[in-house]
Symmetry: C2
Subunit: 225 residues, 2 copies
DNA sequence: TACTGTGAAATCTTTCACAGCA
DNA sequence: TGCTGTGAAAGATTTCACAGTA
């Protein structure tokens, strides 16, 4: 029973009506989207699963399987129409509506994330930072994202119609803020806090744990010799 | 044949002599280590796999399996000795020697990473940042990490005995820098560049792709309703 | 008794291989 | 011919269940 023990890597999630889609598949959809965006810019009209597979060192059957979970987008003998497939994936990933993101914690990491390009593109917007430090509240990040006091969390999340919260606070402070955000209606959280958080009912959490990644590399180095 | 198609999530790697250990197992070892560190500080002497499992919503058999890949550390009827198990894991993860980390790219993200607490602890030290911008070269991060010119990359990596490189440069510039670092003897890379890099022979890469995480959340939001 | 260590089963993911269609 | 879509096989990971032991 391969469920999702670590909350990372291969895992599945069941939804109301649809079938369960693994996290690996979702991840690859994002990768395909990038590829298709580049191809579309370059004016390429069609691409085969084999060609895409070569770019990413993937198996072409896997790409076809990933895509057929959502429909039959290809043309036998030809491949996939690039702009068409791209727009399908944009829709599948829910990037056709605006994602409004708030970051809790305006430390080094929070500020860097606020101004991170990858976050401010493709229908995604960082609208506000939160912190408790009086000298930060009222200021803006270099990129112009305003910093509000955490006391204003619930109200601001609602007023700004925030969909996704990124947690970038010190260890130990994540769970309480997660619960406050959830109570204010947020249902998706990107967690940078190096603690294991318990997701409130109906809330999705993705963990980005930099130390675990670093230790994973240390492990590989230690093993090889 | 579940190999490692995305370079993230569940994957295995074979080493010279030992058996293949999955990336999931490695990730969990880091999690156990944190837990044990806390327990040791709190003066707890022993812990059972069941107790640990409850803390992380994991299955206790999985924890036991993870640990027995590396030895028989437990005592039947009792559990595991906390300080002893902790020191075993430190050794397994290779955290008993110093990890010297360099970050290429002193933009928002690179600077934030340089001063990130999680990176500067437990035998891990950020020793240098690299950039090409003349106004950055010669300065220091807030935390005091010096910024050198990328022209000095190879020499500095060797002089500073860097084990691990973090890539935090704009899209398109990752592959060339990866290859230069590899040629200078670096064998482990933490990649923040949103491109798929091709690892040179013998080089381990871990990808941290923030946009993919965000899009994964967008997907979940789009699905539920 | 209470726990570890582990073979076997269950589950999930990826790859193979090919039918079927443009 | 060349590609997609897909059933079946292969492989990997997780869980179950229990023998064995301190």
């Amino acid at each position: 029973m391969a469920k999702n023990p670590t909350g990372k890597g291969s895992s599945s999630r069941r939804e109301g009506s649809g079938r369960a889609i693994s996290e690996s598949t979702t991840e690859r959809l994002s990768i395909y989207l990038r590829c298709l965006t580049q191809l579309e810019r370059a004016g390429v009209e069609t691409i085969s699963s084999k060609e895409m597979a070569q770019r990413f060192q993937l198996n072409s059957a896997l790409i076809r399987k990933d895509l057929t979970y959502f429909g039959e987008f290809g043309m036998r003998g030809v491949g996939y129409n690039v702009p068409e497939l791209r727009s399908h994936i944009v829709q599948i990933l829910g990037l056709d509506r605006e994602l409004r993101v708030a970051i809790i914690g305006a430390g080094n990491l929070g500020q860097a994330l606020a101004d991170y390009r990858g976050f401010n593109s493709e229908g995604c917007r960082i609208v506000v930072l939160f912190d408790v430090a009086p000298e930060k509240v009222g200021t803006q990040s270099r990129g112009g994202v305003p910093v509000r006091h955490v006391d204003m969390l619930e109200q601001t999340l609602r007023d700004e119609k925030v969909n996704i919260v990124a947690l970038a606070v010190p260890s130990g402070q994540g769970q309480a803020l997660l619960e406050r955000a959830a109570a204010a209606g947020v249902r998706a959280v990107l967690n940078f806090v190096p603690d294991r958080l318990r997701p409130p009912e109906g809330v999705f959490i993705r963990n980005v744990d930099l130390k675990i990644q670093l230790e994973g590399l240390a492990f590989q180095l230690a093993r090889v010799q």
